[in-house]
Amino acid sequence: MSFLEFLNFHLVPGIVLGSVYAVGAIGITLVFGILRFAHFAHGDMATLGAFIALALVTAGLTPWAALPVAMAAVAVVAIVVDKLFYDYLKARPKIMTVMASLGVALMLRAVVQVVFGVDPRTYATGIVRPDDYFGILLRDRELYTLAAVVLIVVGLTLFLRHSRWGKAMRAMSDNPDLARLSGVDNRKVTMLTWAIVGALCAASGFMLGINNELQSMMGWQVLLPMFAAAILGGVGRVEGAVLGGLIVGVAEEMSIFILPAQYKAATAFVLLLLILLVRPRGLLNGKVL
């Protein structure tokens, strides 16, 4: 195997896949860090976002123009879901919210299946052969995906570090009671968090869809690698989620060298177990759950 082959068929797919995982993992890590529960509906919210974008594409938009609209739509859906289900269980033990999110996952999936059917769909019919960049094969959609991920990560980091509301989110993540005493409106921060999480879900679902096809189970199937990425990087750490996503994505594509292909899906599991055993706070020292 040549070095270029290694780059083209193992490393590049791993990085593209990893950056999609990263966008999903950021959302998971935000919910984990600020609202303190494991959000199982994350994958299916991503599916919903991907299919909303599909509806817009069918209506005549180009896929990348449909993305921001889909992100806004799912942001609203996430806020509504929080108001209808999670907010109601706020005072109860967190495990109830976790289980409720599993129920929400099933509901969102059912909505997608009823509205869009269960056949695989694509944003554009046909196949795209890659362009050659000095021997490295890349498709436009892969370049756009990487660019979009960089944009999202930089934007979000700046927002969390420097804006008033971003600081409020971080404060609530550190200590909700103290944050409230200092005048942070927890309800508004919760709403803002869900809006951001919903938008990130839509983005990850869309990027998964544009690089492959859309299926009603697609979000659910990437939930585990996304959780692994969030925990690997350190819960509550945006940079950690990005790092974790890339590691999980690349590790999955590389696992083929040492494991039979049918164990590829287990790679995320193994990484998750290892990190919990060796460094439970994650690579970048996140929260202990």
């Binding site: 082959e5 193992h10 791993g14 196949i127 052969r129 890659p130 189970m217 697609m218 594509e253 292909a261």
Partner: protein, 401 residues
Amino acid sequence: MKRKTIAGLVGAVLGAAVVAAPAHAQDVKIGLMAAISGPIAALAPPMAAASKLAVAHVNEQGGILNGGKLEAVLGDSACNPQNATDTATKAVNIDRVLAIVGPACSGAVLATANSVAVPAGVLLITPSGTSPEITKLADKDLVFRTLPSDDYQGRALARTLKARGIEKVAVAYLNNDYGKGLAESFKAEFEANGGTLAGYSGHEEGKASYRSELATLARGGADTLVIFDYGDGTGLTILRQSLENGFFKTFVGADGMKSEGLVKSIGAQNLDGFFVSAPVGEASASLDNFNKAYKAAGENIDAVFATTSYDAAFLAALAIEKAGGDKAKLAESLRAVAMAPGEPIMAGEWAKAKQLIAEGKDIDYKGAGGDHEFDAAGDVPGKYAFFKVSGTGYESVADMQ
């Protein structure tokens, strides 16, 4: 107050059900376990339509037993053992079905047979579960299928490829009962005939990228990739990524890959080198009957598993009629109505069959999808054809031996 109202309502509904029950005493239910969601979802609607056509034929032509209605209870087996078991449990315990048509996928058939149908003594006829493992079930003679085991298909496909001059292939199979069963019989026959496997690897479903697996398979130097997977699931992802990266030139799939969703999504112009094998009904008067009725119902007669789905439901109804609704006699009745000797019955000839059974005569159902002469394990021999993509669907290019 609210709770009382609800309790009152529930009571009223239950009361109504009890009162209404005697009027429907003759009605018979069968479970229709289609894989409505999951990786073969696109195949499910035509299959369910075919089974329902059989039910409609029964009800139009005198009904079942003493003028009762045959009712098909539709459930979603999702091509998945857990969902299938749940759906079957509900069908058996709540709807009290006498027979189950389905589930569609092999893994689901195995789970349903082992944990629901066989313990409950319910007849199970699958129209599309093709794994060789189903042959080996300890099923008290309750599990049948209206299409041949993949052991035949894998071998026939291997011989067809050899006959077309393909000496070297790589195989990618979905790591479940369906994919693995096919891959093993294909491998055995292909190698026995002097072919070379340049790569042979299983994969899990639902991953977003298979490029590293495919690159590894392609390194073996074969031009042809044989995919044993579902065309509405992972099979589509694998085919797309192989085409986009130019890993292979020719692609061959089995019946699970024969999906129109796949053609729509990748585009027929990109699928010149894509072929699938699938079971076909032998030309017969019975098949003509079926095709005419199925077309009249607004369906596409080339849909995969349509004939076998019709036959499975029709056979279940015949067996119930023959057994007089007695669950314990269903298996032996099924063999009696499906196998020679006896007066031949074609697809759609319910009235004739009902009359002959009433007269105590032996009948032999000649189905749309085949004669259905079951062997000791409840399997049937079959016939396959090799298809290529044409327009938005598939067109047969050769029969397979």
